[in-house]
């Protein structure tokens, strides 16, 4: 009897232990490293909430936050080198195609229900990460580009917000005084120059490439957009041709410039006493378009989450992405009062009454999102955009006419596309 009792007790203990092990998540003791762009959202929202995620899942998370430029280089070097350094990566949308081509991203389809999950997202954002039927990224933070302006000078002078390119230039001239510039442009080579031009091109309803990747950089609308930029630059603070986004926004915040073409999320910061000398006086509008233009659209940029193809912890990595893009964290982003772009690629964010009340920008952004589109999805966009930016700079500096600059840009980009096999002679 005693022998049987021992056997029963042993079986009981084994069953108990097995059950305990099953109940603990399969990825317990997992550790993942997340590569993310360094900005206040990491310290203000992600890090303080990480302990909840770690307790809930047993997954230890290491955050590797780097500035934008270094992030791109480090992610590429680590993942193409198959070092396994990163499990989860936050990517700028213009990198997705490059990363995909290099085989750096893991298809995510097996992790979600393909019938319901994609419907949570705005289609233009979800499609950014789609290739050959596979989904490679989950979009999260969104910024739409448009006109940001300081309301007070408009009210004082009885001016209307410009809707066309002609009005834009006229209003800019009127707003320019001895100690103030009508517009504050960012035209540096770091991405701001070509994005400002792309904003104007999109507002005219035009594209950079046709459907076969034939460049249309020197289209009539493209040249007119650059001519407008050249004129506007005369009413922008000196040195704008080397200004990055932050410098142009800084001029706006100090009342040196009245209007700015750029990411509209900046008004969240400009309308706070810490963010500008004129809190509550900034507003946004869509990018002015040529008179009578059809098919005009907005430019957007996004940060999206992906799993590195060389990860050893794909399940744990997905758990992290599910958590960070989940409704709880989306709400925390929305309610954070952050001056950074926290608007979401998901519909539910804009249906949350608490978020809409706490963040007036959310409903304004929501209106622009359905007609917002990203920069072209091509793996060599980094090179192409640099070629365009250099030529934009040349035109702004008066070294070439707008037409000549974009003709040259078109030729150089075409040569590049030929070399890389996107088009044929």
């Amino acid at each position: 009897m005693k022998k049987y009792m021992i056997e029963i007790l042993t079986i009981f203990v084994l069953v108990f232990l097995t059950g305990f092990l099953v109940l603990v998540p399969a990825f317990a003791q997992s550790e993942i490293t997340v590569s993310i762009v360094a900005n206040p959202l990491v310290e203000d929202i992600i890090v303080p909430n990480l302990s909840d995620f770690e307790k809930e899942t047993g997954i230890k998370v290491n955050i590797d936050a780097l500035p934008w430029g270094s992030l791109y280089q480090k992610q590429i070097l680590e993942v193409t080198g198959r070092t396994g350094a990163y499990d989860v990566m936050l990517l700028d949308d213009v990198w997705i195609e490059q990363y995909n081509q290099a085989g750096m991203l893991l298809p995510l389809n097996e992790f979600f229900d393909e019938n319901t999950f994609p419907d949570k997202f705005f289609p233009s954002m979800w499609e950014l990460g789609m290739k050959d039927g596979n989904q490679y990224v989950i979009p999260q933070r969104i910024n739409v580009f448009g006109l940001v302006y300081w309301k007070t000078p408009f009210e004082e002078l009885g001016l209307s917000v410009p809707q066309t390119w002609d009005e834009f230039l006229d209003v800019t001239k009127i707003l320019t005084t001895d100690d103030r510039y009508g517009v504050s442009l960012a035209l540096a080579l770091d991405g701001s120059a070509h994005m400002t031009w792309v904003m104007l091109l999109y507002s005219a309803g035009k594209e950079i490439f046709d459907q076969n990747w034939e460049p249309m950089i020197n289209s009539v609308e493209g040249v007119e957009a650059l001519e407008l930029l050249v004129e506007l630059a005369k009413y922008s603070p000196p040195g704008s041709v080397s200004w990055r986004w932050a410098q142009a926004r800084s001029a706006l915040s100090q009342g040196i410039g009245v209007m700015h073409l750029g990411g509209i999320s900046v008004i969240a910061e400009l309308n706070t006493p810490e963010g500008s000398d004129y809190p509550g006086e900034f507003e946004i509008a869509p990018t002015p378009a040529p008179k009578g233009a059809k098919g005009g659209k907005n430019l957007f940029s996004t940060y999206a989450w992906a799993i590195a193809s060389d990860t050893r912890n794909a399940e744990a990595a997905w758990e992290f992405i599910k958590w960070i893009t989940g409704p709880e964290m989306e709400r925390k982003h929305g309610l954070s009062g952050s001056s950074r772009p926290v608007e979401s690629a998901q519909y539910s964010y804009y249906q949350d009454p608490q978020v809409l009340e706490a963040r007036p920008l959310a409903s304004k952004m929501r209106k622009l999102l359905p007609n917002s589109f990203p920069q072209p999805r091509i793996a060599i966009w980094q090179q192409i955009s640099n070629e365009i930016a250099v030529e934009i700079n040349e035109a702004i500096l008066g070294q070439k006419s707008a037409k000549q600059a974009l003709d040259d840009a078109n030729d150089r980009v075409r040569e590049l596309l030929l070399k890389k096999g996107y088009i044929k002679q």
Binding site: Q73, I76, T80, A102, P237, V241, S242, A379
Partner: protein
């Protein structure tokens, strides 16, 4: 035979790790080597010792210098983009041909040479002036203060120094335009953004940053000059200017050569200052070769083409360094004649 070999390499390994000083225990090493059969070690053991001592250092140099250099040379013959799904493929001289055909490449070479030679020219003049001040009897009381001020730019990291200058160059709020305004010589200069001043602005920062380096080397050279030639020249009635040109400069030949060659090598491959200040812009007005290498290799990840450009930087650096050494030696020998 096996045992002494193992022992010998163990001792060398211990030396690399800092646990054992082979030089101190030369006798042990000789004893170990003496156990090698004569047909294998058909050379004098004494002559082998220096080579053995050099092995760790040579291995290190081979691993961190020779192998990467060879790899770079080989990469130049391949079309290899890190972001391409294709494996690297041999393209022969294609990367070199593309480079020589590229107008931007030649423009960047010209910019690099203007940048390098103008910076070292002014660094030499200013550096010599500071060095003379540091060693002069007139400023002896102030030499510590002068040294402290002179050395300041060297103590700042490149990024901090460049960011500081970027703010100083700011057309509206920068201290430089403010100072010019205050002096009534305002020209509303757009330092980093104008075709006429962009490269000049970058050159000024580079001069400011590395003049102290030249000054310190030259000051060390001046401090070591013998007094006898000056006493003799004084007796012969030479003026201070004649003493400077006919005694100081020739005697300083080695220090000058060292300062100029080191600075030239550095200036030809300068990167940090330009990258932080302008990233090569606006347009390509400040795009020197190293910025182009960085763009090709680490922004576009075109490793093959980037490798070819890097080789050019290396060749130019070696060529001009040798040229500068030759010129200084030639000038020095003429002075002696």
């Amino acid at each position: 035979m096996k045992e002494p070999v193992v022992l010998l390499f163990s001792l060398l390994a211990l030396q690399v790790l800092g646990e054992y000083n082979v030089k101190k225990h030369k006798g042990t090493v000789i004893a170990l080597l003496s156990q090698f059969p004569n047909q294998i070690l058909n050379i004098q053991i004494e002559r082998l010792i220096p080579i053995i001592f050099l092995i760790p250092a040579l291995t290190f140099i081979f691993v961190v210098l020779i192998i990467p250099l060879l790899a770079n040379l080989i990469l130049g013959f391949y079309n290899w983009n890190l972001l391409s799904p294709d494996l690297p493929n041999f393209v022969g001289l294609e990367n070199y041909i593309s480079m020589f055909k590229s107008v931007e490449f030649w423009d960047s070479i010209v910019r690099t040479l203007i940048f390098a030679f103008s910076t070292i020219f002014f660094q030499f003049l200013l550096g010599f002036a500071f060095a003379l001040a540091l060693t002069s009897v007139v400023f002896k009381r102030w030499s510590t203060l002068i040294r402290g001020i002179v050395i300041l730019p060297l103590t700042l990291t490149t990024v901090v120094a460049a960011t500081m200058w970027r703010l100083m160059y700011e057309p509206q709020f920068g201290i430089i335009n403010y100072a010019l305004d205050s002096l009534g010589i305002s020209h509303n200069l757009i330092w980093l953004s104008s075709p006429s001043t962009a490269l000049l602005s970058v050159i000024i920062v580079e001069i400011w940053r590395n003049t102290p380096f030249v000054a310190l080397i030259l000051a060390a050279g001046l401090a070591m000059l013998p007094e006898e030639p000056y006493e003799a020249s004084f007796v012969d009635g030479a003026s201070p200017l004649q003493s400077f040109f006919y005694i100081t400069l020739p005697l300083m030949q080695n220090a000058i050569m060292l300062a100029l060659v080191l600075r030239l090598m550095d200036a030809l491959k300068a990167f940090g200052i330009v990258h932080v200040l302008t990233k090569g812009g606006p347009a390509r007005l400040t795009e020197i070769v190293s910025i182009r290498v960085f763009k090709e290799a680490f922004e576009y990840f075109d490793i093959g083409y980037g490798a070819v450009l890097a080789q050019v930087v290396l060749i130019i650096t070696i060529l001009f360094s040798v040229l500068v050494i030759k010129v200084i030696k030639l000038v020095g020998s003429r002075n002696y004649d």
